[in-house]
Each structure stands twice: as structure tokens, then as C-alpha cells.
């Protein structure tokens, strides 16, 4: 129990004194996971909306692939991306292995199917007559899409939170493609694992508390955006 107290007081101390290493690690976590969530939104939302509203042969198969992607183990994604990015691998010429860019790619691969699948479910659960009504009132295609997304904003924001939550807490793929290099690719999760394997449990607990605080703050903002009642 006192180990947990040690961890809490250490977390407080590290934050208050502005320990540069902790700040750097936290900032990198936000940057990498934030960028990955943003990219997966840019990929996942349009794709999910398109899948929800269109009908084409093989649609069921594509949707089942997206749903499988939602549950894909992150470490599998990490392994395959490492193999692709190896120097002697197919994408080795980009020299991206062990850089934050590789981590963003791995995390996007993990989050994009999740965002796509939830968007798909969100748009697909809207009353189909709503779409026809919007079009009947003279909306252009883009206006119609925008209105549908606003209508489904509760599950869409849930998709953002799910995507962000998945990537900020991810450790296996980030370690493999990033290498947990001090000052370059060390993020909160990989640092926590390293500190606990070194036996520095107070530092590990401190880092995990900071991570949870970060997640809470981000989700607080997103929940606020999701739940507010806007006048119609």
C-alpha cells in the first residue's frame, strides 16, 4: 500500500517540479497518439460513412473485415509494420523504423478500423428516411453528409474517444516499431514498462498515474463536446 502512496507522491513531485524527462515523455505521448487519432479519423470517418450509406457487392465482406480490424491485437500490427519498415524490408528506404513516425503509423493502423467500424454503426443506425428527407429539402450531397454526422455525433465522438484510448494505452506495437529510445521514441506506456522491469516501481506508478490523468482530461473535453445540448 505504501508503494502506491510512494507512487502518488512521486507523480505529484515529478509534475510539480516539471521534471524534463517526464514532460518530454508525456508530450511525445500526446503528439504521437494525437496525430494517430487525427489520421485515423480522417481515414475512418469518411470510410465508415461511405460504407454505411452505399450498397455494392461484397459490402458485407468489407464490413466484416473492418469489424475484425477493430479487435486486432496491437502487437500483431506492430510486428507486421516492423517487418515492412526494416532496412531490408519493402519500405526500408524510408528509414522510418525506430522513429515517432513509425509509431504514428502503427497506432493509426490500430485505431482506424475502430473509428471506421463505430462510424459505420453510428451512421447506419440513423433512420434511412432522415437521409431522404434532408435530400428532399434541397440539400447538396455534402450538406446531407454533414447533417447526418451531426445527427450521429454521440456515437461519432465515442469513436474518437475509443480510438484515442486505444492508442494512448498501447505498448506492444509502440515498443516494437519505436524501440523505446530515450529522447526519441519513449512514451508514457513504454517508459512505464521499462521502469517496472528495472524495479523502479514508484516511478512506474507515477508514470501510469500521469497517463491516466492525461486520458481523463482528454476524455473530459470530448465528453463535454459529446453531451452538450445545443439549441436546435
Amino acid at each position: 500500500m505504501d508503494l502506491i502512496w510512494d507512487g502518488i507522491s512521486k507523480a505529484f513531485w515529478l509534475l510539480v517540479t516539471g521534471d524534463p524527462e517526464v514532460l518530454r515523455v508525456t508530450l511525445l505521448s500526446i503528439q504521437v497518439s494525437g496525430t494517430a487519432t487525427l489520421v485515423s479519423l480522417l481515414i475512418g470517418v469518411p470510410l465508415g460513412t461511405a460504407l454505411a450509406l452505399s450498397r455494392f457487392p461484397g459490402r458485407q465482406i468489407v464490413i466484416s473485415l473492418v469489424n475484425t480490424g477493430m479487435g486486432m491485437p496491437p502487437v500483431v500490427a506492430g510486428l507486421f509494420i516492423t517487418i515492412l519498415l526494416w532496412r531490408n524490408g519493402p519500405l526500408g528506404l524510408f528509414h522510418m523504423l525506430f522513429t515517432p513516425t513509425a509509431m504514428v503509423i502503427a497506432q493509426t493502423v490500430i485505431a482506424a478500423p475502430m473509428v471506421c467500424g463505430i462510424t459505420l454503426a453510428a451512421i447506419g443506425s440513423l433512420n434511412p428516411k432522415l437521409r431522404l428527407q434532408i435530400l428532399a429539402l434541397g440539400a447538396t450531397r455534402w450538406q446531407m453528409l454533414w447533417l447526418l454526422m451531426r445527427e450521429a455525433r454521440l456515437p461519432l465522438l465515442a469513436a474518437v474517444m475509443a480510438g484515442f484510448g486505444a492508442v494512448i494505452s498501447e505498448v506492444g506495437a509502440s515498443t516494437m516499431v519505436g524501440g523505446n529510445i530515450l529522447g526519441q521514441t519513449r512514451v508514457l506506456t513504454t517508459a512505464t514498462v521499462m521502469e517496472s522491469s528495472k524495479g523502479n516501481f514508484d516511478v512506474a506508478i507515477a508514470l501510469s498515474l500521469i497517463l491516466m490523468l492525461l486520458m481523463y482530461l482528454v476524455n473530459l473535453v470530448l465528453t463535454y463536446a459529446q453531451q452538450r445540448q445545443r439549441p436546435l
Binding site: 512521486k10 515529478l14 521534471d19 524534463p20 524527462e21 517526464v22 518530454r24 515523455v25 508530450l27 511525445l28 500526446i30 503528439q31 504521437v32 494525437g34 496525430t35 487525427l38 526494416w86 532496412r87 531490408n88 526500408g92 528509414h95 523504423l97 525506430f98 515517432p100 513516425t101 504514428v104 524501440g179 523505446n180 529510445i181 530515450l182 529522447g183 526519441q184 517508459a191 521499462m194 521502469e195 517496472s196 522491469s197 528495472k198 524495479g199 523502479n200 516501481f201 514508484d202 516511478v203 473535453v221 463535454y224 463536446a225 452538450r228
Partner: protein, 327 residues
């Protein structure tokens, strides 16, 4: 009003994400997250390290007594160093890497995995230089032509650690061979790393030399993890394990385990630096690998290695050996 605030927050978040990816990564500075007791040690080690006299000789000169300092930044600054978890867990890398980067301008990516994985990375040409401690595998590595220029860097030793009450009665045993036999006879709980690291390979060799096959036995448990994690598992379960002295000392206060057997020459832990063969893999950073190799055996670095841990533990964690005959 609320919309404006929300829009502002989103833009801020995007700006942070965007700026972060674009900004160049800061050069590594000695970390300060090390536990409170240790925060002084790495800082002290770097400040007491002798200042490097700028070398007049060109970078090609491999003189081991001079520190290598290039006149201009290197053409290919990225250097992938595949190394063991013990060099990371003991904190040695955190001292040496910044020194090397400052002296030479290379940007090192130390990938701390076990020696087994480090050498596999070398075999694939995915690393430029390796700092490992698995002599038998290393000799095979060189013989197969994957690596060149294997240089002795330093050594320390492995120790058997276990519960203070020592149910298997191994305390004070002189030979490692006898120790493993006693452990097997007592069926004492033994926790192994099981991850093909240098430590793991030495441990497996000890069992093999004693003609014991512990695999699959209920008292022999493999964690598949690094030394720190394995020590913790052994401490929790009140079992025995074999550890390098440096990692044990770094964690001693939290473990509650005693050093039971030490000193046998079979327990020597020898570190070498090996360059991955550029003839086999044209993509490796051969100049960088050579620079790192020269750095590790240079007199100044050897002094730093020899003093590492003195102020924190009262004893040196590594014994510098560059230039000496092989063990």
C-alpha cells in the same frame, strides 16, 4: 462562446500534434526520471568524465588512446546500436550514449533487447553495431561472417542470488558447476530469464556442463523477460536466480535477496562491441559503427566505464578491459 472555446481547444491540440512531429527531436540529455536516490549518480558521472581534447588526427585514425572527434558532422548520423538489457538496466548506456553523441555528432538509437535478438538484428543487417555479452554466440557470429572487428570492452560477473535463508544451501559454494548441481538436487525454485539473452545463454551453458536438463521441471521457471523483471519474480517467489552484478546492485534495496555464490571464472560476464559486416549489408552505417567501436575502447571511455557506479554503490559495476588479451 462555448463553440469558440471548443474550436480553440481543438486547434491547440492539432497545433501541438503538428508541431511535435515537425520539430527535430532534441538531442538526448541525461535522464532525470531515475529514482530519487539515483538522480545524482548519472549527473555526477557525466560531470566527472574527463573533458575530451579535440582530436587533431582525422577521423580515420583508429588510435585507441585518443578520443575520436570528427571535424564535421557525419554524413549519415543515424546509428542503430543493438545491445543487451543489462547495459540499459544498469544505467551505463545513459552515461555513454550522450558522451558519444556529443563527441561525434552521431544520433544513436540504442535498441535494448537480449543478446540473442541483438545478434539476430545484426544477421539481418538491421543494426549497425552491437554491444553484447554472449561470447559463444558472438564467436559463431564472427565465424559466419556476419560481424567484423569484435573488440573486448569490459567485464563484470554473474552471481547466484536467492532467499537469505538459502534452503538449497548453496551459500559460499566455490564452483558454479557445484552450485547448479546442488540446486537441481534440492529441486529449489529457480527462475530463469529464458529469453536467449547473454545471461540466459550463460545459465543454460552451466546446466549443460553439469549434465542437467532443467527444462520442463516444476522447480525451473522461465520468465522470458529482462533481468530486472526476472529478479523481481525470483524475489516475490523466494526463489534463486542468476544475475549480473550491476543489475542486482541497482535493485538490491527492493529485492531482499542475498548474493550466495560468486567468483568462479565460469561466471565472468564479458562484453564485446561488434560491427555488423558492411560487406554483407551495404546499408549499414559502417563509419558510424567504427566510430562507436573506437569510442568504446578509447582510453577516456574506458575510464568512464571503470568509474561507473563507484559513487552510488561504492564499487565499480564494470571493469574496463580494452586492449587486453581475451579471457
Amino acid at each position: 462562446m462555448k463553440r469558440i472555446i471548443l474550436a480553440f481547444l481543438c486547434t491547440l491540440a492539432l497545433a501541438v500534434a503538428g508541431c511535435g512531429s515537425a520539430a527535430p527531436a532534441p538531442t538526448a540529455t541525461p535522464p532525470t526520471t531515475a529514482p530519487a536516490a539515483a538522480t545524482k549518480a548519472p549527473a555526477a558521472a557525466t560531470t566527472t568524465a574527463p573533458t575530451v581534447a579535440p582530436a587533431v588526427a582525422p577521423t580515420a585514425a583508429p588510435a585507441p588512446t585518443k578520443a575520436v572527434a570528427p571535424a564535421k558532422p557525419p554524413a549519415n548520423p543515424d546509428l542503430i546500436l543493438a545491445t543487451t538489457t543489462s547495459t540499459q538496466d544498469s544505467g551505463l548506456l545513459d552515461v555513454l550514449i550522450p558522451l558519444f553523441e556529443k563527441q561525434t555528432g552521431y544520433k544513436v538509437k540504442p535498441i535494448a533487447v537480449g543478446s540473442g535478438q541483438a545478434m539476430t538484428m545484426g544477421q539481418k543487417g538491421e543494426a549497425d553495431v552491437m554491444l553484447v555479452h554472449a561470447p559463444d554466440s558472438e564467436k559463431q557470429f564472427i565465424a559466419d561472417g556476419w560481424g567484423v572487428n569484435r573488440l573486448l570492452v569490459a567485464h563484470n560477473d554473474f552471481i547466484f542470488v536467492g532467499p537469505p535463508d538459502d534452503p538449497a544451501k548453496i551459500r559460499g559454494t566455490k564452483s558454479a558447476d557445484e552450485t547448479v548441481k546442488k540446486l537441481a538436487a534440492a529441486q529449489a525454485l529457480f527462475v530463469s530469464r529464458g529469453d536467449n539473452s547473454g545471461t540466459d545463454q550463460l545459465e543454460k551453458k552451466l546446466w549443460k556442463t553439469a549434465s542437467i536438463d532443467p527444462k520442463g521441471q516444476s522447480w525451473y521457471q522461465e520468465t522470458g523477460q529482462g533481468m530486472g523483471a526476472t529478479l523481481n519474480v525470483a524475489a516475490e517467489k523466494k526463489g534463486y536466480t542468476i544475475s549480473d552484478r550491476a543489475t542486482y546492485l541497482a535493485q538490491k534495496s527492493k529485492l531482499g535477496m542475498d548474493i550466495l555464490v560468486e567468483g568462479d571464472t565460469a561466471l565472468l560476464n564479458i562484453y564485446h562491441v561488434i560491427q555488423v559486416n558492411p560487406a554483407k549489408f551495404p546499408k549499414v552505417n559502417a563509419e558510424g559503427a567504427k566510430a562507436f567501436s573506437d569510442f568504446m575502447v578509447s582510453k577516456d571511455t574506458q575510464d568512464v566505464i571503470g568509474k561507473f557506479g563507484l559513487d552510488k554503490y561504492g564499487q565499480a559495476l564494470f571493469f574496463p578491459d580494452a586492449g587486453k588479451p581475451e579471457f
